[in-house]
């Protein structure tokens, strides 16, 4: 079976002040199947939001997608005409953003904002779309839905607005929903409600969901599969269980170690990652994490590791892997670290030689 979304070798370039280009997203490949929840986790500047914008063809200027393909149900998104693109966004795919206030039109009643896409994309009449809008608002848990249709966004709280955004995003039952930090602006109790809501959408409508967050807690409690991004690249990917339970990349390990967990003894000091991620346009030679890495060796400073299968061949892991492979073409755990998986260096060298 083909995946719902297939991204391969995606590169997003930004010009630098010194006439060069900087790969803000660098050769990113992944797939999303119907009903699957894929999480992209990374720190600010890691390229996680740009990746999602690129596959919706929404990269902000002066950035450009310079390489790579995005296939949506086998069709090449990059070659869509503007008209097709507009139909595709909203009916087949939808996005939910971090700030629900700036993604709603403050001067338009909520009802109109929901019915708009229903009328445009599904060709519903005014009355039909109104009925459907009420259903949608009820579904996302907004009490008194009918009377609230005539309210402006200002009359809603932050959590309510995010629910309205989710109602709009799911209005046309999209096959793919991209949620970019959807709960970051929300309180923790409301965050839990919104995640539950997205979870229901994925299981009821079989929507493929890409959840983007800097919070590994949010990502791992929600997603089936996790991509860890660092400095524009995927440095590790695998199932939530693999990433949280048996991380291979030193960055993933350090990230997990620097997170405070309520259920664990309180450490005297937190394990932190020294230094800061490379700034835009200053990618070092070799592995971009080398300067901050605890297990760095000489080779890391010269050879840029490729993303290769992890070498933690636990027997349980292998069986689990083959089971999931048949399910949805889920790839095994991949890691871009030559220390954890020596093949990463070997493949990279081969590529350089060729």
């Amino acid at each position: 079976m083909t995946a719902l979304l297939e991204v391969s070798d995606l590169v997003v370039d930004f010009p630098t002040s010194s006439d060069g280009v900087f790969h803000a997203v660098d050769r990113v490949s992944f797939t999303v199947s119907a009903g699957e929840r894929v999480g992209i986790v990374g720190e600010s500047g890691s390229g996680k939001s740009l990746t999602s914008q690129a596959l919706m063809r929404l990269v902000p200027s002066p950035g450009t997608v310079s390489q790579g393909t995005v296939l949506f149900e086998g069709e090449d998104v990059m070659s869509f005409s503007p008209k097709k693109l507009q139909t595709w966004r909203g009916s087949q795919t939808a996005m939910v953003f971090q700030d629900p206030m700036s993604s709603l039109n403050p001067l338009m009643r909520i009802g109109r904002q929901i019915t708009e896409s229903l009328q445009v994309h599904l060709g519903l009449s005014k009355a039909e779309s109104r009925t459907r809008a009420i259903e949608l608002l009820q579904k996302v848990g907004i009490p008194d839905a009918e009377s609230r249709l005539s309210d402006f966004p200002g009359a809603f709280s932050g959590g309510m607005r995010q629910r309205v955004c989710i109602a709009i995003a799911t209005a046309c039952s999209p096959k793919l929903l991209i949620a970019d930090e959807p709960t970051t602006a929300l309180d923790v109790t409301v965050q839990a409600q919104v995640l539950d809501l997205l979870d229901n959408m994925a299981s009821e409508l079989n929507t493929g969901v890409i959840l983007i967050s800097h919070d590994l807690g949010v990502i791992s409690s929600f997603c089936d599969r996790i991509l860890v991004m660092y400095a524009g690249r995927i440095v590790e990917q695998g199932t939530a269980e693999q990433i949280v339970g048996d991380p291979q990349h030193p960055y993933t390990k350090a990230l997990l170690a620097s997170i405070l967990k309520l259920g664990e003894p309180i450490p005297r000091r937190l394990r932190s990652i020294s230094g800061a991620p490379p700034t835009a346009g200053h990618r070092p030679a070799g592995c971009s994490f080398a300067a901050r890495c605890a297990s760095v060796i000489d080779t890391c400073l010269t050879i840029d590791p490729a993303l290769v299968p992890a070498e933690n061949t636990r027997s349980t892991n292998t069986t689990a892997m083959s089971a999931t492979t048949t399910f949805a073409g889920t790839p095994e755990q991949l890691v871009a670290c030559g220390v954890a998986a020596p093949a990463a260096f070997a493949i990279s060298e081969g590529a350089t030689a060729a």
């Binding site: 720190e43 600010s44 848990g141 709280s157 932050g158 959590g159 309510m160 309180d187 923790v188 109790t189 409301v190 965050q191 839990a192 409600q193 995640l195 539950d196 800097h214 919070d215 590994l216 807690g217 949010v218 990502i219 791992s220 409690s221 929600f222 939530a240 269980e241 949280v244 339970g245 350090a254 990230l255 997990l256 620097s258 997170i259 405070l260 967990k261 309520l262 259920g263 664990e264 309180i266 450490p267 000091r269 937190l270 394990r271 932190s272 990652i273 020294s274 800061a276 991620p277 700034t279 901050r292």
Partner: protein, 332 residues
Amino acid sequence: MSTSLLEVNDLEVTFRRSAGPGRKAASVPAVRGVSFQLEAGTTLGIAGESGSGKSTIARTLMGINTPSGGSMNLNGEDVTGLKGRRLAEYRQTMQMIFQDPYDSLDPRMTVSQTLLEAIKLRKTNKPVSPMAEVHELLDKVGLSRSFASRKPRELSGGQRQRVSIARALSVDPRLILCDEAVSALDVSVRAQVLNLLKDLQEELGLAYLFISHDLSTLRFMADYVGIMYLGKIVELGTRDEIFDRPQHPYTRALLSAVPEPLVIDRTVRLPRVRLTGEPPSSTNPPSGCSFHPRCPLAQDVCRTVSPAARPTASGQVAACHFADPELVVAEA
């Protein structure tokens, strides 16, 4: 006469909201009778959702907002509603670190100018050699001396927050209010800054009032924790009391809403206390206990009688009619 560094009694802060399109003028009680004490060298963490009044407490302590009732004592001296010169003096004992290090540093001033400005404002213990002190401050917060000539835009978020900390330290305060001081930082950098704050506390005997919506951060930082809901502290106790034996249903709901990365087997997710609804508006707080519309334990009495904060059997103070150890057992 108390020995506490800071003592806050029945603090009330009310904002006046002017009339606008489609709304009437109203008074908004942001902080409604908050009391707590903070000992030298310890950390009191305050948690709560947005709009619960936690930042208002910090801003009122700093004299940015004016209290409408209650009192604040620092070192046994009443510091409620200070103005002008007295306020400036008082602020040398108490400093604040804000959430956004991008907004709280002057973009046109170099790090050394920022720090020198603060050092020169110091009333007591006038600096002998200001520049030497700048270097000393940079050492303290783990920045190399070469940072002195840099401007904020040349610094990362974590480095900026270190400069904010250095600036707060420049007047030798006894107490630092940290209002979401690490919330804007990436996790890897956040850990560095939290470690730094703990080290400085040990070295200098600082007290912190640490405000955060992130409970796991508070668990790491705080000796005592207060949970706020709609302008009131609904539960106050030691870290272990709050995190291991929470009594107030709101505290329990908050704790169970925290997404944990270590739930490996996702089929046996912990049963969660899910709150329905959202924090009500503070313009028009619900009758009785403010939490009753969202509370899983709410009874008739909760709708009419506002529960007073009272000591519970497990040690902490909780404002709930049903805060009782037996109830927790029964529920589990």
